[in-house]
């Protein structure tokens, strides 16, 4: 078999390298865009799940038990703007003279933020295991930016109540938790 032992000329090699480089640059930008989109949607999914969990937990209680009142927690005579106490019209099954009371709280522990919506010992005595399993505690994604003036906001208009946890990520995307209730 006779082989052409001359190989490629310099111009051919340069042309090939330039062509391959153009294609690679195009592909690299494409992959980077896809990766950025994937990362962004992953972060968004984490926030969406967190927001949905909290809205679902509080929304179900408002629908099933009827909202009686929503107020900031009072600590040493002052409003604590990191927690809101929600009292419902329905009584506890274990104590028919005590209304169901839950607390929405944002707190910082072990270098992480958490949002909890739960029965708390200070508001409910002898919490049962049935009640305890309805407690919701969720870790907030690491890059969260919360409002330092108060993690939780409460707005009212006559009987309408808006509970808000303003949140955003480091890129400025907003993922607020907004819950609406009607005091009955």
């Amino acid at each position: 078999m006779r082989l052409n032992k001359k190989g490629m000329s310099m111009v051919e090699i340069i042309v090939s390298i330039v062509l391959i480089s153009i294609v690679l640059i195009f592909l690299m930008t494409l992959f980077l865009k896809v990766r950025t989109t994937y990362n962004q949607s992953k972060i968004q999914a984490d926030y969406d799940i967190l927001v949905s969990n909290i809205i679902k937990a509080i929304g179900n209680d408002i629908e099933n038990y009827g909202l009686k009142s929503a107020e900031y927690e009072i600590v040493n005579g002052k409003e604590n703007t990191d927690a809101i106490v929600l009292e419902f019209n329905t009584f506890r099954t274990t104590n028919l003279s005590e209304n169901i009371t839950k607390v929405l709280r944002v707190y910082f522990e072990n270098n992480k933020f958490y949002i909890s919506y739960s029965y708390e010992a200070g508001y409910t005595e002898n919490i049962t295991s049935t009640e305890r399993v309805t407690n919701v505690v969720r870790e907030v994604p690491d890059d969260v930016i919360l409002d330092r003036d108060g993690y939780v906001k409460l707005e009212k208009l006559n009987n309408f109540v808006e509970i808000k946890v303003p949140m955003s990520d480091k890129n400025g995307n907003i993922y607020d938790i907004n819950i609406y209730g009607i005091i009955e």
Binding site: N4, K6, M8, S9, V11, E12, L19, V23, F26, L27, L30, K33, V34, T37, S41, D48, V51, S52, I55, K56, G59, L157, N158, N159, F160, E162, I174, I177, N178, I179, Y180, I182
Partner: protein, 172 residues
């Protein structure tokens, strides 16, 4: 022998590159279409708000008022005489509810939005038309409530409109 690339070799290389690029582009554009479609999905907050609006409207609007037409406009802030709420009124339950939830428009329409053609939608806002077209209807004899909300836009003064829809009425 100084032949270099022959035409056939060049065409083959270009063809192979083109096929790879077309495949990559189509998969990438599919991804973008999916992301765009996802942005039109109702989110939990608006579904929850719409549930409050629906519970109220189901108790005050009889089915006879909306079952004879393709769609029924409950209120729309873009039309002066049919605003959803007024900032000057307080103490009226419906006004306070719509003001508090920032309701911009409420429509009740057939569940099967395929039966509503584009000409019927000309009176709607462009964003509403897009939303209705993005719905995935099934051929059912039911109604849906579509609620449009105004959201603050932190970057510009132009408001953002968000939508959510749920089944409405006894047939839901």
């Amino acid at each position: 022998m100084k032949k270099g690339f022959i035409l056939l070799e060049t065409i083959v290389v270009i063809m192979v590159l083109c096929v790879i690029l077309v495949m990559l582009y189509s998969s990438y554009s599919n991804l973008l279409v999916k992301v765009k479609k996802k942005s039109l999905y109702d989110n939990t907050e608006y579904i929850y708000k719409t549930n409050i609006v629906r519970n109220y409207l189901e108790s005050v609007i009889p089915e006879s008022e909306y079952n004879s037409s393709l769609y029924y406009v409950v209120c729309r802030n873009s039309i002066d005489n049919n605003k959803c709420y007024s900032d000057n009124i307080t103490g009226n339950y419906e006004n306070d509810l719509f003001k508090f939830l920032k309701v911009e428009a409420v429509y009740i329409m057939l569940w099967d939005t395929n039966s509503i053609n584009s000409n019927d939608l000309t009176g709607f806002e462009a964003t509403t038309q897009n939303y209705i077209k993005s719905l995935d209807p099934t051929n059912e004899s039911a109604f849906r409530i579509v609620v449009m909300y105004e959201e603050e836009n932190n970057e510009t003064d132009i408001p953002i409109y968000e939508y959510a829809s749920l089944r409405f009425g006894s047939r839901g």
